[in-house]
Symmetry: C2
Subunit: 247 residues, 2 copies
């Protein structure tokens, strides 16, 4: 909200759903953190930690199939399950053995990779999850731009876990006085993270997506996705490919 | 979320912005509560309490001008101020003297009346504010349908005050076991209302819209808008006109 601007402080806004992105995206000169805690952005962090070279996010299955025909290893997830005929889904544990080390892989997911597509015209687009919380906050401070903490949600609906992560980032970065210009959605996200942070697993017990993953026996994934600072890599979008900020 | 349905319980979903309405509106057989606490829906409640017969909500100024040329008393607000040439804005205190008693008036506002327009195909569309909190909850229970608590927000952005009211309604109606099927946005709204309910005025101290109203010397309006149960009327949409459920 431009009327709220003051001095050189940077805005910190939480975008609670892809459908709200146009209402908050006022200038390309910003850092967008794409957040899909369960599980796309957690999986992308895990994939980089395991040594992949790059990841091409694609928004739809048609594109994913095209890459597969070209010989890429391609992951595809819809409604929390691996799509038949693809090499992997969006389980972060699927990358633990480093089997794609050094490779550039392709991924399409229900929400996360679509959110990357929505955000791609921003100056900085990075991948955030609890797995790289501290690293993302350091990246944001160094970039020193307005920040959109962009929750991928679930099919345009609000979800709790992405909002909690946005609140965690907002709490950390607003300790730096340059990031003080916060919106209502940021206040809400920080408030929720405060209520949840001592027991996120319990807080999310009634959330729609934790219940969805529990039904699919993905509790181990949930535990990984809620574990802080598993990596110091920030995956960043360069052109059409996500690469490590350390490469 | 159809996958979350169980038995005969009714869904309670909070729609945090007009831009999210399509993601939640799955069937017209529901009750939609339109919420614009600062100040359209608070003002509409105050207008009915003061004795107006009906209110025609219009989405744009062109329509409002047309009604004015036909002799109607017409209110128009944009960016929290009365638009030049119109009879009133959306201050609830403007109706206190009962000057429109028995009349059908016309209103267009930045967010609230647009939200009514977005929701109008639902079976029941009602106007909610802290001014009629208990009455709205009783209406919802009697209607016994799925519920969308629809926050008008601010130009498609999330706002805190509408979310708090949605949380207040959700807390009350889920005491009735028929309303148990809640979504992530409902959990978030109830959580926020819990954090705020003992001092809503203070909780909203940093919110964008309370600051906007404070700059415009509208503190008295804010106080009215946060006062519970000023009326037992539920304004309901019938065709293109909002009328009292008591008439």
């Amino acid at each position: 909200m431009s009327e709220e601007s003051s001095g050189n402080t940077k805005k910190v806004e939480v975008v609670l759903s892809p459908a709200l992105f146009p209402a908050y995206f006022e200038s390309t000169d910003c850092t967008v953190v794409v957040i899909d805690v369960f599980r796309a952005t957690s999986a992308i962090c895990a994939a980089f930690e395991s040594g992949i070279k790059g990841l091409i996010p694609v928004a739809n299955l048609e594109e994913a199939i095209k890459y597969k025909s070209e010989g890429y290893k391609v992951g595809a997830e819809r409604n929390a399950e691996v799509v038949d005929g693809f090499d992997f889904g969006n389980s972060p544990l699927g990358f633990k053995d480093g089997k794609f080390k050094g490779e550039t892989i392709v991924l399409t997911t229900t929400n996360g990779t679509k959110a990357v597509d929505v955000a791609k015209s921003a100056a900085n687009v990075v991948i955030g999850s609890f797995a790289n919380l501290t690293a993302v906050c350091e990246y944001i401070e160094k970039a020193d731009k307005d920040v959109l903490l962009f929750c991928a949600g679930w099919k345009d609906r609000f979800n709790l876990e992405d909002t909690l992560f946005a609140g965690a980032v907002a709490q950390k970065i607003t300790q730096n006085l340059r990031f003080q210009n916060i919106s209502d959605s940021t206040i809400a996200a920080m408030n929720m993270y405060d209520a949840a942070k001592d027991d996120m697993y319990g807080f999310l017990g009634n959330s729609s997506h934790r219940k969805r993953l529990s039904r699919l026996n993905m509790e181990e994934d949930v535990i990984y996705c809620l574990s802080l600072d598993q990596t110091d890599i920030v995956p960043v979008l360069e052109g059409d490919i996500i690469v490590s900020n350390k490469s």
